[in-house]
């Protein structure tokens, strides 16, 4: 075995020497003077030729590699020595494969309709000796998985189809041969490239740098996993919500996606798996809307006193507007037992405690922690407990689950003026609170600035009728206009 090197005087000009392509492949037998490799320099292309006869045992450099003069590029040895590297020191007995004989192993055709098979797993590796009839691999057809047996015994010289590869029937997937030289001679006689892999039905990802790189790639997705897209295209795609991986190929150089490729495209619907929370929300609210006969009542409430109280107590009690509203709701629910009653098995069950659910939007979805005995809490305690409830809910810890009798949901902080909520079963009503907003009211011919808030009540008609809903809202409005009454908890 000898190494062939680049001539020392290959580059008098100190130009970058770049390995271009191989003119002789690994395993090929070359004669003195035969081209081995093409070396690129900025000013010339250099064809490096062999100074020895023999087989190329190994290629030591890859296309695109920067070389230096005198660098070894390949190993060459006697043609008969090729393949001795496999360590056949103790080759047992004669085999079926006569010297010089090569047996290709073909993808079997199992049935008239079979056109191709997938290599599931090889049970052998190159260099193994196999017996006739030995199971050497498992394949999968469009109908079933099956074992394939060796057609004859011998040494596995080369496996040319990888696991997972889809190969047409009657195509060689491996070869049995005594020596690699025999195999090379055979392949050459078949007119096949020596390093040829089994033709693949689906493209295989190249694992080595490809000698030929000049063909523009049509896929924007590169073997390396890098997505080819211009910076402008990336920005635009992000704005449009388009996943660039779903854009098949761009019109830029080498299939790169450029911004104009995205014109006229629409964001594809994305399938995201359902989280448990999302699934629960979907089931509960679908059931509610399908099974509870909802009706709705809306009332605009003067919030002048509420705002004054909020400003007054904010510092002292750390309360929010919503806390004041929850406090008022708790008292109204205490006052109107129907709003803590539930329809169960053709019965109406009245619950003793005023446990108010507070709807909290989290990153994962809507949750409703429950403030127990809300009517008994003074404002300071109510504010503290609510704050803790909400924080815990955002952190994924729910309190009072299943014990609520009535829910308050508030989108006022987002500027929503009014909205209708779906009842949170098994409760019978839910109050949707909008933003407190400033407007002008006319009172006895005078124009006055004031605050209002819109309350929308969703009610289960099986439990509560319209008049009762109206009375509830009126009572609530009254409580909100006397917020000082909310400071102490009910006895």
């Amino acid at each position: 075995m000898q190494q062939l090197r680049l001539p020392k005087d290959i580059d008098p000009g100190h130009w970058p020497l770049v390995m271009g392509s191989w003119a002789a492949q690994k395993g090929q037998v070359v004669a003195t003077g035969q081209a081995l490799a093409i070396i690129e320099t900025p000013v010339a292309t250099i064809e490096v030729r062999s100074t020895l006869d023999g087989a190329i045992l190994d290629q030591l450099v890859y296309p695109g590699q920067v070389l230096q003069s005198g660098q070894a590029i390949c190993e060459i040895g006697p043609a008969s020595a090729a393949g001795q590297g496999h360590g056949q020191a103790a080759r047992p007995g004669p085999t079926d494969v006569a010297p010089g004989k090569v047996v290709p192993i073909l993808m079997p055709q199992a049935g008239q309709t079979m056109e191709e098979g997938t290599i599931l797993s090889w049970k052998i590796k190159e260099g193994d000796l196999v017996q006739p009839g030995q199971v050497i691999l498992e394949i999968e057809t469009d109908k079933a998985a099956m074992d394939v047996e060796a057609p004859s015994g011998g040494r596995v010289a080369r496996i040319v189809a990888k696991e997972g590869q889809v190969v047409p029937v009657k195509t060689p997937i491996a070869y049995l041969a005594d020596s690699d030289a025999d195999l090379q001679a055979y392949l050459a006689s078949q007119g096949q490239p020596l390093e040829a892999q089994a033709p693949s039905v689906q493209a295989q990802l190249p694992s080595q740098p490809q000698p030929e790189d000049q063909k523009p790639q049509v896929e924007a997705q590169q073997p390396s996993g890098r997505l080819r897209a211009s910076p402008a295209a990336r920005r635009l795609a992000a704005q449009m919500g388009i996943d660039l991986r779903t854009v098949p190929a761009g019109s830029g150089p080498a299939g790169r996606i450029i911004s104009t490729d995205l014109l006229g495209l629409k964001a594809e619907p994305k399938t995201a798996g359902l989280t448990k929370m999302r699934l629960a929300i979907a089931r509960n609210l679908l059931w509610s809307k399908q099974n509870i006969p909802h009706f709705y009542a809306k009332r605009q409430v003067d919030a002048q006193a509420l705002m004054a109280a909020y400003r007054k107590y904010k510092q002292e009690y750390g309360c929010t507007i919503n806390d004041l509203i929850v406090a008022a709701v708790a008292r109204a629910v205490r006052q109107f037992p129907a709003f803590r009653s539930q329809f169960r098995d053709n019965n109406i069950v009245e619950l003793p405690s005023v446990n108010i659910g507070i709807a909290v939007g989290t990153d994962q979805g809507l949750t409703v922690p429950v403030l127990l005995d809300a009517d008994r809490l003074d404002l300071r305690t109510l504010a503290e407990r609510t704050k803790r409830l909400v924080e815990n809910a955002r952190a994924g810890r729910l309190e009072g689950v299943g014990q609520g009798v009535f829910t308050v949901t508030n989108l006022g902080m987002f500027g929503v003026e009014e909205f209708y909520a779906i009842i949170n079963p098994p409760e019978s009503a839910i109050l949707a609170v909008g933003a407190v907003r400033e407007l002008v009211k006319v009172e006895k011919g005078n124009i006055l600035p004031t605050h209002v808030v819109t309350l929308c009540l969703s009610v289960d008609h099986r439990v509560i009728d319209g008049v009762l809903a109206a009375q509830f809202l009126a009572g609530l409005a009254e409580l909100l206009q006397e917020p000082d009454s909310l400071l102490e908890g009910a006895r």
Binding site: L4, L6, V18, L36, T41, V48, P209
Partner: protein, 471 residues
């Protein structure tokens, strides 16, 4: 009186003053402390003065070669060294006052004096024997570098000096030995030769401009040879002594030289010794302060930019790092990973950005190289600027532009286009398919990119040479 700043910056070179302006622009209360002249090495002892002198030298060179373009210059062509120096000094003064004006416009406080670190968030500044303390939430060290000298060599700066002195020489030597064939050595060689000085360059490594694409240094050496600049490569100065007002040097190749002055241009070392790094527990490696991609040092709230961190000893790198550090200090930091171009103001000029073929080799990247000789261009021939070439290095499979290397007229201006493209991960195809104005020297960049794709039109297919391998 003690003041508290959001950011205090030690040094007003291209790193420090730009950092100061950025901090001012972002509304921070910022102080820039300068021990010497505003603008640091770049403005006073580096980029700008050398370019001012080179412009005079290059004009002289153009006049001397005017007859190539059919222009005859009557009488004696000469120069007034004092006037050239005075013009240079005017340029520097104007630029310094420019920085002052920008500082004022952005509310940057300029503190004159020598700063040292006194503790976390505290600096002591000494001005004319007076000491004051400055407190700052964040500190940016931008103290730059000084030219390296060679221990054991005569220290009479009239005979053996660095670029610091050579840029302000009152007169020119008849013969000069330049030790070091890097950027500074080559620029001085070119400039001094332009003024008629007998120049010898000695470089320890095997090519001029070490670190850059080797073909550039080789081409520059050929130009130098034509101009009568003597270049010794793979050579060291074994001995140097001053005898009877003459410097005698013995080279490792056996050569003996007699020159009037020696310019040491062997590199620069960080200017961090007097800063009191140890007082805040900051380690330095050979004087360089280690930083991460956001210019943060190991000590919280202390940054280091420019030559002092040794990442890339170029003025524009320092400026970019300064902006990076200030943005991070004020809470909108991001890693700095942009390509930094280098520019050499010889004539012809040399400019580079991105990977060299040597770096590609070290990183094992498969590449393809495109080439275009500038002399093939219509514009080059028309304007008599035919020297040089462009090399474009691209990734062999992914086709991304990895490096662009230019030697030729206006190279330092041409590199900007390549910087913009490499900085956004463009492909060689992006450069190749763009329409460049004709006739321009810049067409060579486009053609070289096309050549890397085997698509250059103004270049015949490469000749094929057959060679036998060596066993």
């Amino acid at each position: 009186m003690e003041q508290v700043f959001d950011i205090a910056i030690i040094g007003s070179g291209p790193g420090g003053y730009v950092a100061g302006l950025k901090a001012g622009q972002l509304g921070a209360k910022v102080a820039v402390i300068e021990a010497d002249l505003l603008g640091g090495t770049c403005l006073n002892r580096g980029c700008i003065p050398s370019k001012a002198l080179l412009s005079s030298a290059e004009l002289l060179h153009r006049i001397r070669t005017a007859k190539d373009l059919g222009v005859s210059v009557e009488g004696k062509v000469g120069f007034d060294w004092t006037a050239i120096q005075a013009r240079k000094d005017r340029v520097l003064a104007r630029l310094r006052s420019g920085i002052k004006g920008l500082f004022a416009a952005r509310n940057v406080t300029l503190v004159l004096g020598k700063a040292s670190l006194a503790g976390p968030g505290r600096l002591v500044v000494q001005t004319d024997g007076q000491t004051r303390t400055i407190s700052a939430k964040k500190i940016i060290i931008a103290s730059g570098s000084v030219p390296a000298t060679i221990p054991g060599w005569p220290d009479d700066q009239h005979y053996v000096c660095t670029s610091d002195q050579a840029l302000h020489w009152k007169d020119l030597p008849g013969k000069v030995l330049i030790v070091g064939g890097g950027v500074i050595g080559c620029e001085f060689a070119c400039m001094l030769r332009g003024f008629g000085v007998d120049v010898t360059v000695v470089e320890m490594l095997s090519g001029l401009l070490p670190g850059m694409e080797p073909g550039l240094g080789r081409a520059l050496a050929a130009v130098f040879a034509k101009r009568g600049i003597k270049v010794f490569l793979d050579t060291k100065v074994d001995e140097l002594k001053i005898e009877d007002g003459i410097v005698r040097a013995r080279l490792s190749n056996g050569q003996a030289l007699e020159v009037d002055r020696v310019l040491v241009a062997t590199g620069r070392r960080p200017n961090t010794a007097g800063l009191g790094l140890d007082r805040i527990g900051l380690d330095a490696e050979k004087g360089f302060v280690k930083v991460n991609d956001r210019m943060q040092t190991m000590v919280p709230d202390v940054y280091c930019i420019g030559d002092a961190n040794g990442r890339c000893m170029l003025a524009h790198a320092a400026s970019a790092q300064g902006i990076c550090a200030v943005e991070d200090a004020l809470g909108h930091g991001k890693d700095m990973r942009l390509p930094i171009p280098s520019a050499v103001y010889t004539f012809p000029q040399v400019a580079s950005v991105g990977l060299t073929s040597i770096q590609a080799k070290q990183q094992g990247l498969p590449i393809k190289v495109g080439y275009f000789p500038i002399g093939h261009l219509g514009k080059a021939q028309a304007s008599g600027e035919e020297e040089g070439f462009v090399l474009v290095i691209r990734h062999r499979q992914e086709r991304t532009l990895l490096g662009v290397h230019i030697i030729g007229a206006h190279a330092t201006e041409l590199i900007g286009a390549a910087v913009a493209l490499i900085g956004q991960d463009a492909l060689a195809d992006d450069l190749g398919r763009m329409v460049f104005a004709h006739p321009t020297i810049g067409e060579a960049v486009k053609e070289a990119a096309e050549d890397s794709l085997d698509q250059a039109l103004h270049l015949p297919p490469r000749k094929l040479i057959r060679m036998l391998a060596e066993a």
